[in-house]
């Protein structure tokens, strides 16, 4: 791989989501060479799968579009998709990095014309939509995908179909012999911004996630509400694709709970309030019920809480939801909860239950391949044993988009300072 002119003064950013993108751009616009690596075939990370942001209810692709343009116009940023970090050796000002790229089977001759997808016949679970629908084995991850380049699923490699896909490409962009490759970089600092994973709702046995079709997680709700999601934006019951009318939001699903995640993820309250607006906007007859412990709408987000709460179709009930059961004939799901204001046990039926699951830092499972300090939850600490390795965004704390951007901007400066240490 080609080197930047000043290897030691350059910065590696790991993770191309909101934090990683922001850190990479802020450092590059300050005049530093940046390498950005992302595991997925596109940049944008988790937010590209969000329908809207709270509290403005604006589309994430709006800000991403600006950020992608900043990347396109900045020669100081080089990015690598489908790439992960294998090894980090060294110290602040002097790191040797080994990166590993998985084969995309599509090379840089791809124009994005889509002839390969037309030739493909196999359908695979669509990773962009959390498997809620399928996509052809030759696919563009989503229409805003940056880079706008197709991907070939490894499932079809070696098949006749793959040969047909290759033959269909007028630009010789399909490379069926592509192999995983490793390459090295020399950098002065590493920003680790690999983001978060939704807590596995299946671990909360009594909620029946994965068993009851109409119990979904909040990240799935984002896809259901998005026009580029599996239902073209219609919020439906997964059991029968009928429009959902009565929807329950179960807050702190696994959060603030010592058996699951002891901490609060800070964003799920606002996310559910936001998702209630998705529902009510497309179905004026709908009803949203939110079961909560505390509504944590910090700072100016209070206004958003006040606004959503004022809608008479929104009911807030203080109480942590207990068991969720399913009526297998109707698909209706019943939530049982102790209403803390009345002391009564409530049971109510819904078309759809959305579990507001929290954030698990990606650093808890995919660990930094170097000496790095995390707390027991997997969050990276501010002070790291290896100077020059800096966490940013949700690997440090469960935070919203604005705070991720802010934290990533701070991390960019910390990284710049680290490149001076030699």
């Amino acid at each position: 791989m080609a080197q930047g002119q000043n290897g030691e003064r350059s910065i590696l950013v790991v993770g191309g989501g909101m934090s990683g993108l922001s850190a990479a751009l802020e450092a590059a616009e300050a005049g530093f060479q940046v390498y950005l690596v992302e595991r997925e075939p596109y940049l944008g990370g988790r937010v590209s799968r969000m329908n809207k942001y709270f509290p403005k209810l604006c589309p994430p692709n709006c800000g991403l579009e600006i950020n992608f343009r900043r990347i396109r116009n900045n020669p100081l940023i080089r990015f690598f998709t489908m790439t992960e970090v294998e090894k980090i050796v060294g110290e602040a000002g002097n790191f040797d990095i080994t990166l590993k790229s998985s084969p995309r089977y599509v090379n840089d001759k791809c124009t994005g014309c889509g002839a390969c997808a037309e030739a493909a016949t196999t359908h695979i679970a669509n990773p962009f939509n959390y498997g809620l629908d399928t996509v052809k084995a030759a696919y563009l991850p989503h229409e805003f995908a940056f880079p706008m380049r197709y991907v070939l699923a490894p499932e079809v490699i070696g098949s006749e179909e793959a040969a047909a896909i290759k033959a269909a490409c007028p630009y010789d962009a399909i490379d069926l012999d592509m192999q995983p490759s490793t390459f090295d970089l020399k950098v002065g600092a590493v920003i680790w911004a690999t983001g978060w994973e939704p807590y596995d709702a299946g671990k909360i046995g009594y909620y029946g996630f994965g068993k009851h079709k109409n119990v979904i997680s909040n990240v799935m709700m984002e896809r259901l509400a998005a026009y580029n999601g599996p239902t073209n934006g219609r919020i439906v019951r997964l059991s029968d694709n009928r429009q959902a009318g009565r929807v329950a939001f179960v807050q702190c699903a696994g959060s603030r709970d010592e058996n699951h995640l002891a901490y609060c993820s800070g964003v799920c309250c606002l996310a559910s309030l936001k998702q209630a607006t998705y529902l009510l906007e497309q179905n004026p007859e709908a009803q949203a019920t939110i079961f909560y412990i505390d509504i944590r709408a910090l700072g100016k987000y209070e206004d958003f809480f006040t606004k959503v709460q004022a809608d008479e179709r929104v009911t807030l009930i203080k109480g942590k939801a207990g068991e969720i059961t399913e009526d297998s004939t109707t698909g209706m799901v019943t939530v049982q909860v102790e209403d803390q204001s009345s002391g009564k046990i409530l049971k109510d039926q819904f078309d759809l239950v959305v579990l507001a699951t929290g954030m698990v830092p990606a650093s808890a499972t995919d660990k930094v391949p170097a000496e790095a300090a995390c707390d027991e939850h997997g969050f990276m600490l501010g002070e790291q044993p290896t100077g020059g390795i800096i966490g940013a965004g949700c690997v440090k704390k469960p935070v919203d988009v604005a705070t991720s951007v802010q934290d990533a901007t701070a991390a960019a400066l910390k990284a710049i300072q680290a490149t001076f240490r030699r």
Binding site: E26, E29, L298, G299, G343, L381, A412
Partner: protein, 739 residues
């Protein structure tokens, strides 16, 4: 520069199958006499690009028109350097992918898009960056509290000189009165000590950090890299020239005197959280009324917060701050009864673990609305509330102090609202709504539009607070800490570090002649042809970033390094004297005039679409990527911001016989999405003046429409475009066709 134009038509991705390429090439060669016009079935290939580069070297081509895919893709492939002009014509996403192949109307659309592209390219010039003179790379930090000290120290650690100005006689701000900090480290259950001397030492011991205490900013004039700062100190004035500014003047506690309903002012033992903190700091923890030890305490959270009569917002830090203070009591004596009355306990993130610990410590949490704080007759106080959990009234036992967790008021909210100028008698009221600027005596900017940062709500500085939280509306000035948004200590430290980077970045980019966010790296800037200026002041009034000052004769005084390059001034100017090297009123006007308008008997109406290049234009691309189709009458012109739309374009289009004009811009209003804050709103205001043009031409008002769309609204675009076409069909053809 003598223009030599090369036109390169890609026939790949379905373009060659859908269009008659030779006829399209004829537009370039016959109508525009392009020096070179080539076709390539795979223009973005190495060979395709090599062919273009060959022409640059051997044919003297200096202006390149790429008729292929959207300018949103293959940007790096078609980059021929800053000394060349390169214009992209979007034949793929916006013509052949969204219209039927081998159709006369699709062909006409492609040809018009190419005409417009070549017309623009003919007038575009390579950028010549604005190079400021006598540049400063120093960073000014206003405010010497935790955020200010952090910003100064972090900038210094990155090798920058810093000037730090603090109003009081000592650094430290609110931290001077703080005993301990809430936990930032595992196990997140214990309070943290800190050393104020070590914090302030980060700046006082640094030769490259010049600290002014007992000092205030008297005036800041100039622009990024050329800010001239007058600092008032001890009756004298010191001058500094700086490159960028971090505003870290913090917040003050909400005035507890307004909280009489919570007993403040009635009993000496009702105190604020800040007062309690000072007691622990000094070690002198006593009941204010009698000097006796405190044997029981009650905290009232949201004292004046989340309350429409006081502060409607949440201050984000007070819940955790009260948990911390409750811990002080429990640490001193676990038996001390401590009550916390709250609405929602907002211990976000790992602060949840501190909350859990205090539950274990025996703090009594009561969720409810406090109804009264009364003396109990035996010298103690009782707090009563309606307990939400039990549905019944509840009272605390007798306690010695009641602590009000008051919220934060940003220092930018303190002062009177600035008014640019009252309209003189006979003058019409300003058409452009004024920004909220509070004369808060923090920055004292010598700016035509007012002395401080425009506020969004509650006095906090305006920005795109989700995606781009640091981008205030004054270039090179970055708010940080609790002046930007209510936040706790740890977040303020991160926030200040980020702001320091933004300041450094601004200095770096400006010194290279580049624009900062959101058109980061843009080398063009607006140039004013002053001989024709009529001193109408529209450019100075409308600039969303306060970039243009005025002399006493109302001549505009542009500050290119304050400019964000949106082109709002260009759109505002009735004399069309403002232009960029690659974007001007004449250039777009001529592009519009290059559209071939068939006469009315052909029944081929024409619709001009001016589309915001940040949102509406990508949305149009998305329609193409999805192969959605819409009517072929539209001719799309991307604009930097809808606010750069000049009304003369509307007149140009209508007098040319174009039947209708659709303006696609971002959402405006409270939750605006315009990247240039007010661009689409200003375009909407200008729309009201379009009526004059339409009346003069005796045309129907339905011919011009503005739609607010977001980048995600591409599913709605075909319907928007087609319903507009249907409306124009009703209205009938523009009578000016053929003139």
């Amino acid at each position: 520069m003598e223009k030599k134009i090369g036109v390169y038509i890609c026939t790949g991705c379905g373009i060659g199958d859908a269009l008659e390429i030779d006829a399209l090439a004829g537009v370039a060669t016959d109508e525009y006499e392009a020096a070179v016009c080539r076709q390539n079935a795979f223009l973005c290939s190495r060979e395709g690009v090599a062919e273009i580069k060959h022409d640059l070297e051997n044919e003297g081509i200096n202006t390149i028109v790429i008729a292929a895919c959207s300018p949103r893709v293959m940007t790096d492939v078609f980059d021929f350097g800053v000394d060349k002009v390169c214009e992209r014509v979007n034949l793929r996403e916006q013509v052949v992918w969204s219209h039927p192949p081998n159709d006369e109307d699709t062909q006409m659309m492609a040809q018009d898009q190419l005409r417009m592209g070549i017309t623009k390219a003919k007038e575009m010039q390579p950028a010549e960056p604005f190079m400021a003179e006598d540049l400063s790379r120093k960073i000014l930090v206003v405010g010497g509290g935790l955020a200010g000290i952090t910003a100064a120290s972090e900038a210094n650690k990155a090798g920058y000189e810093v000037v730090l100005v603090e109003k009081s006689d000592q650094l430290g701000g609110y931290l001077k009165e703080v005993h301990k900090l809430p936990p930032s480290r595992p196990p997140y259950e214990e309070l943290q000590d800190f050393d104020l001397g070590a914090v302030t030492g980060q700046v006082t011991d640094q030769p490259a950090v010049k600290v002014y205490t007992n000092a205030q900013i008297a005036k800041i004039s100039g622009a990024p890299c050329m800010f001239d700062v007058q600092i008032q100190q001890n009756g004298g004035v010191a001058d500094e020239r700086v490159g960028a500014i971090v505003l870290a003047t913090g917040a003050i506690p909400y005035d507890a005197a307004k909280l009489e309903h919570l007993g403040f002012g009635k009993s000496a033992d009702v105190i604020t959280a800040a007062q309690l903190e000072s007691m622990f700091k000094s070690g002198d923890v006593k009941r204010p009324s009698n000097g006796q030890p405190i044997t029981g305490a009650a905290f009232i959270l949201c004292a004046g917060s989340r309350d429409p009569k006081h502060l409607p917002y949440c201050s984000a830090a007070c819940c955790v701050e009260s948990l911390k203070q409750a811990k002080y009591f429990k640490q001193a004596n676990p038996e001390t009864p401590v009550y916390i009355f709250y609405k929602d306990l907002r211990a976000h993130g790992t602060y949840e673990l501190l909350y859990k610990q205090l539950q274990k410590d025996g703090v009594i949490f009561v969720r409810g609305d406090v109804t009264g704080v009364e003396e109990d007759g035996s010298g103690g106080l009782v707090v009563s509330a309606d307990d939400v959990l039990t549905g019944s009234p509840v009272m605390s036992e007798s306690v010695d102090v009641v602590v009000l967790a008051t919220g934060m008021v940003p220092t930018t909210a303190l002062g009177k609202k600035f008014k640019v100028q009252e309209p003189k008698e006979g003058e019409e009221e300003l058409a452009v709504p004024e920004d909220t600027i509070v004369v808060s005596n923090n920055l004292n900017l010598d700016y035509r539009q007012g002395p401080e940062l425009p506020a969004l709500k509650y006095g906090f500085p305006d920005s795109h607070f989700i995606c781009f939280p640091y981008e205030s509306r004054r270039t090179g000035i970055y708010p940080a800490g609790s002046v930007r948004a209510p936040m706790d200590y740890w977040r303020a430290v991160d926030d200040a570090t980020g702001a320091a980077l933004k300041a450094i970045q601004c200095v770096q980019m400006v010194s290279e002649g580049k624009a900062v966010h959101p058109r980061a790296g843009d080398l063009t800037y607006p140039e004013f042809f002053m001989q024709r200026c009529t001193q109408c002041k529209r450019c100075t009034e409308e600039c969303p970033f306060g970039a243009i000052n005025e002399d006493e004769k109302a001549n505009p005084l542009p500050n290119p390094t304050r400019c964000r390059r949106c082109g709002v001034c260009m759109g505002a100017c009735p004399e069309r004297i403002i232009s960029f090297k690659n974007y001007s009123v004449g250039m777009i006007g001529n592009a519009i005039k290059s559209i071939d308008v068939p006469d009315e008997y052909e029944e081929k109406p024409r619709i001009l679409v001016l589309a915001c290049e940040n949102d509406a234009y990508p949305a149009l691309d998305m329609s193409g990527i999805r192969r959605m189709s819409y009517n072929p009458w539209v001719r799309i012109v991307p604009v930097r911001c809808l606010g750069s739309m000049n009304l003369v374009w509307i007149a140009d289009a209508l007098s040319k016989g174009i039947d209708g004009i659709l303006l696609l811009g971002c959402k405006h209003g409270d939750d605006y999405q315009c990247h240039f804050i007010k661009g689409s709103e200003l375009a909407n205001i200008r729309m009201s003046k379009i009526q004059e043009t339409l009346n003069r031409l005796v045309l129907e008002s339905e011919r011009v429409r503005l739609e607010q769309i977001s980048i995600a609204d591409y599913s709605k675009l075909p319907e928007i475009l087609d319903s507009f076409a249907a409306k124009l069909d009703e209205v009938g053809p523009n009578p000016y066709k053929g003139y």
